[in-house]
């Protein structure tokens, strides 16, 4: 049994269990190793806490790797939050378009006399356009693609899924 081997083998128990837990979490344990770990987990609350922390780490690393892979493949440039350092590059064309639009308005506006009502409408339009540009530039799309989300299949109600 793994536990007996650990105690008799002379290497530190703590180190031994770090390895055994990692093997178990990765699905690499032999039956004997898993049985020894099971018995040890039953007897030792501290070991159970270590085991649970490793499981938690394993899950969190899976999530972190998935997020990193998404960012690398380019999907993340649209669907995930890009790092702030990437924003000027990703949205450079949008700022150029916004600057061009503003320049055109500055040139056009003095040539036209508009009523105060029309002016208010115009101001509202400018403001809404600026907001839209700001949103385009800074708001990342929040949803993952459907195939990546374990909850995507639940977007339909049970009735409609049947």
């Amino acid at each position: 049994m793994c536990a007996a081997q650990g105690r008799a083998g002379g290497f530190p128990m703590k180190e031994h269990w770090h390895e055994q837990i990692q093997r178990c979490v990765s699905g690499d344990s032999t039956q004997e190793e898993a049985a020894a770990l099971q018995q040890a987990l039953k007897d030792d609350a501290e070991l159970r806490a270590l085991y649970l922390d490793y499981v938690n780490l394993d899950v969190a690393l899976g999530v972190a790797a998935e997020a990193a892979a998404i960012t690398e493949t380019g999907i993340g440039k649209i669907a995930m939050h890009p790092p702030p350092s990437a924003w000027p590059i990703l949205h450079h064309w949008r700022w150029l378009a916004a600057a061009a639009a503003c320049a055109a308005l500055i040139v056009i506006l003095p040539r036209h006399r508009v009523s105060s009502g029309a002016r208010q409408d115009f101001d509202a339009t400018i403001s809404s356009t600026q907001n839209a540009i700001a949103r385009l530039s800074f708001e990342p799309a929040s949803s993952l693609p459907e195939w990546m989300s374990p909850t995507a299949s639940m977007l339909q109600s049970p009735e409609t899924r049947k």
Binding site: V25, G27, R48, Y54, N56, V59, G62, T151, P158
Partner: protein, 177 residues
Amino acid sequence: MSTLNAQHHDQFLCLFAEHEAALRTFVRSIVPSLADASEILQDTSVVLWQKFDEFDARRDFRKWAFGVARYEALRYLRDRVRDRHVFDDALVDRLADDAMAADQRHEAQREALEQCLKKLPAARREMVLAAYTKGTRMDELAAGRGQTAMSLYKMLHRIRQTLLECVRRRVAREGFL
């Protein structure tokens, strides 16, 4: 879908999305196999949605979801994996209790991981993330880095241990232990 149904559905999705990571960790805690845990999580999510009508909104969704997941895990293990080696019911129950009690600490550890990953040298960080990317084959990853699979496993073991110590230290500083 009627407006009421749609609201109900949205409410469920919001709650499920909020607690999904904790639920995934909880299931993995009591069923180490990734494949089994994924199936149990799927079964659990379906049952949660089917029973969502019975859920009292004043109750804690996470506790309710953990309870359903625990039942689903035990049922799954009894029905489908009799011939495989898994933890027995007594240990599953004990781990489930401990996992529920450690829930807040685990959430804090998941949040601390980002900082701990940043502390790793870039090459090691890239390696561990590559190892955890879906579809990665360890032998190919090792070959690509000019390593043997065994040396890669040993390195991953050390990195995980380092990360675990880091997240535990950070969370202990915040008073969760």
